[in-house]
């Protein structure tokens, strides 16, 4: 599904290398988790994959189902099936949530040569999915993320993911800022989307999310590289002992 090879990334504006050769492969139907100390490059990886400007790829490649992601505009990557749940969802005053999401769904469909979703179907679907995530219908009428609490923003990310039905979902700390019940809702939302044809890359600091979304593979990222890869037990090790042992071991 997603294949990253030797990816090196520096900042465009300054001479600062952030990703120093990332290798990662997420197969369809699998859930991979990435953990790692603050500043190790996890968000940078998610941004570079989704096409945010300000970064320069100096080496390596990233493909989604064999297609070169790095060569596409952000909207083309989305239409190709890539989705990023932002660590910090952006507030957009003046742009209504509904209009935004309907335009997003239909832009992607159009780009893929599919039929657009009618206004009624869209409404029906978003209402049902919002209900599952306990998102108030009133909230949907507001401008994108404006005045949403931290947890509401994260739930809104999951709602967007559910509506867009991407092939490859990257979740950047979608659990942070969520209360215990919201975390469960979000995990249920993610689990409901788990399927044969869909891959997940879940960036998190905490084992708790992984209790609900059971990962197949866990990676540890440090200083711009994946330094260790293992099974779900790796996350437990981090939870209990922190990163010191792992980092010492690979140093």
């Amino acid at each position: 599904m997603l294949e990253i090879k030797g990816l090196k990334v520096k900042l465009e504006e300054e001479d600062k290398q952030i990703l120093k050769g990332v290798d990662l492969r997420v197969e369809a139907g699998k859930v991979h988790a990435i953990m790692g100390p603050n500043g190790s490059g996890k968000s940078t990886l998610s941004y570079v994959l989704s096409g945010k400007s300000g970064y320069e790829v100096t080496d390596g490649s990233a493909t989604l189902e064999g297609e070169d992601l790095l060569d596409m505009e952000p909207e083309e990557r989305a239409a190709a099936g890539l989705f990023l749940a932002f660590q910090y969802p952006v507030e957009i005053p003046g742009v209504g949530n509904m209009t935004f999401l309907r335009t997003a769904v239909n832009s992607q469909r159009k780009a893929r040569g599919e039929e657009e979703m009618s206004a009624t179907d869209f409404l029906k679907e978003i209402r049902a999915k919002a209900k599952d995530l306990k998102i108030d219908a009133e909230m949907l009428k507001r401008p994108v993320n404006v005045g949403f609490s931290g947890g509401e923003k994260k739930r809104n990310e999951v709602l967007q993911m559910a509506m867009l039905e991407p092939k490859m979902c990257i979740l950047d700390e979608t659990d942070s800022g969520l209360d215990v019940d919201a975390m469960k809702l979000v995990a249920e939302g993610v689990n409901a989307l788990r399927s044969e044809g869909r891959g997940f890359l879940v960036i998190t600091h905490y084992q708790r999310l992984l209790d609900h979304i059971k990962p197949d593979v866990v990676h540890i990222m440090a200083n711009g590289r994946i330094v260790k890869t293992g099974g779900p037990e790796l996350a437990l090790e981090v939870e209990n002992n922190g990163y010191a042992d792992i980092l010492a071991e690979v140093a």
């Binding site: 989704s50 096409g51 945010k52 400007s53 505009e73 952000p74 909207e75 990557r77 989305a78 239409a79 990023l84 932002f86 969802p89 952006v90 507030e91 957009i92 005053p93 003046g94 742009v95 209009t99 935004f100 999401l101 335009t103 997003a104 769904v105 832009s107 992607q108 780009a111 401008p143 994108v144 967007q160 867009l164």
Partner: protein, 427 residues
């Protein structure tokens, strides 16, 4: 006498020598002669004037109008689908043939050029304009009072069933139109005035609006889309107790447009909102100059001006709130913002407050910026193409101004025009 003033007076004399100054204009003759002598004394605006620091007045003051191509779109004109009483001016001349019958229950309409001795109008014509000459001089408005041969006089006695719509047509590439409209909304009545269409190669327009106690005046104007237009417009409004004034202007294209709005809140508990959305692409200068005077207790004024500029376009905003002694509990708000879609465009703003009362809440803010990159990326990351995402952000930026239009259908009409303008420019 200083040399600058002398030069300005000479410019006025030259301009007036070449103009057809109406004589024997009956009831309006005294007001015209007064305006004429004021213009001669003030002189015409010059580049050296503080009030014309950002906008060059030369092409507005020159003896002859420059040439401007007639702009045809083939599209349905703004407000085309609305039920309204249509009054049409072609190159600044009233067209009976193209206009509806000037009859609508609740109001009296007459043509300035033909009006007999109308006492309410003779009390108003040139009066609000003359009042508006202090503390800042507005010679082009006085020139208008002196020279205007056409326009409408509208007296609103009772709320009419539909808006009155002033429609301008530009046919002659060298036309130099001067129109002067006077509106009086009598106590308790409510009135909506619409204006649209390219008026002339050069256009000087004055609108004087006297809004009596508990009366309401709504004004929605769409200027444009003629590219080569040069226009200077003045709107003078006087508000009585508990009255409402709401004016919105959409301005697109045009090489030079200066819109001045001079509002005086003279009765307690009155409410004046003036808003504008301007879209400029290329050789375009748009200037909003606003002066709001609070001279009564517990009044609210609000200025919301938004400009979207690209391709070297220039936006200007000069706005002032003057709170006179005793105008307590004034709530004054002023916002001017520009969205610069590229690095070539510029926005020049001069917001001012002058307050002589102590129990007052006034705020002003002026900003100029590019599209928020993070928001743009967020939209794109959800699959929305960059150009559509940019348009979303642009409409969102303009929304606060458009929302000042109270009538939802009119607001939707304006939004549709904004979308059209943006869509036509999608690369």
């Amino acid at each position: 006498m200083n040399a600058v003033l002398k030069a300005k007076q000479e410019a006025a004399a030259t301009r007036l020598d070449g103009a057809d100054v109406p004589s024997g204009a009956g009831w309006s003759q005294a007001a015209r002669e007064d305006a004429l002598s004021r213009v001669r004394n003030m002189g015409l605006p010059s580049r050296r004037d503080e009030y014309w620091k950002y906008t060059r007045p030369d092409t507005l003051t020159s003896a002859e109008a420059g040439e401007a191509a007639v702009f045809e779109t083939g599209e349905e004109p703004v407000f085309g689908s609305f039920d309204r009483l249509k009054i049409v001016f072609v190159d600044g001349v009233f067209s009976a043939e193209k206009s509806d019958d000037l009859a609508l229950e609740g109001i009296e309409i007459s043509r300035l050029a033909e009006a007999g001795d109308i006492s309410w109008a003779s009390e108003l014509y040139g009066t609000l304009e003359a009042n508006g000459q202090t503390p800042v001089e507005r010679p082009l408005a006085a020139l208008n009072t002196a020279l205007a041969t056409d326009g409408v006089l509208i007296r609103v006695l009772n709320t009419p069933s539909k808006p009155v719509s002033l429609i301008y047509h530009h046919e002659n590439t060298r036309s130099d139109a001067v129109l002067h409209h006077v509106v009086k909304v009598e106590a308790g009545a409510s009135f909506t005035l619409l204006e649209n269409g390219p008026a002339a190669a050069r256009f000087n327009k004055v609108l004087e609006a006297d809004i009596a106690d508990k009366a309401a005046f709504h004004h929605v104007r769409a200027q444009g889309r003629d590219h080569e237009r040069r226009a200077v417009t003045h709107m003078f409004a006087r508000l009585g107790t508990e009255s409402t004034f709401k004016s919105f202007t959409l301005t697109v294209n045009g090489v030079l447009t200066r819109n001045e709005c001079i509002i005086e809140l003279t009765g307690d508990d009155a409410f004046a909102h003036v808003a504008g959305a301007a879209l400029g692409d290329g050789d375009f200068l748009h200037d909003d100059t606003v002066f709001v005077t609070h001279d009564a207790v517990n009044c609210e004024s609000r200025q919301v001006f938004k400009k979207v500029l690209r391709n070297g376009a220039t936006g200007v905003f000069q706005g002032k709130i003057l709170v006179k002694p005793g105008a307590q509990k004034t709530d004054g708000y002023q916002k001017s913002q520009s969205l610069l879609l590229d690095g070539d465009s510029q926005f020049l703003a001069k917001p001012e407050l002058e307050i002589y009362a102590d129990d007052v809440a006034c705020s002003h803010g002026s900003t100029s910026g590019a599209i928020d990159e993070d928001a743009l990326f967020y939209l794109q990351a959800r699959g929305i193409p960059k150009d559509i995402a940019t348009d979303f952000m642009t409409l969102a930026f303009l929304a606060e101004a458009v929302e000042e239009i109270e009538d939802e259908a009119l607001a939707a009409e304006i939004n549709g025009r904004l979308e059209g303008w943006l869509t036509r420019r999608r690369g």
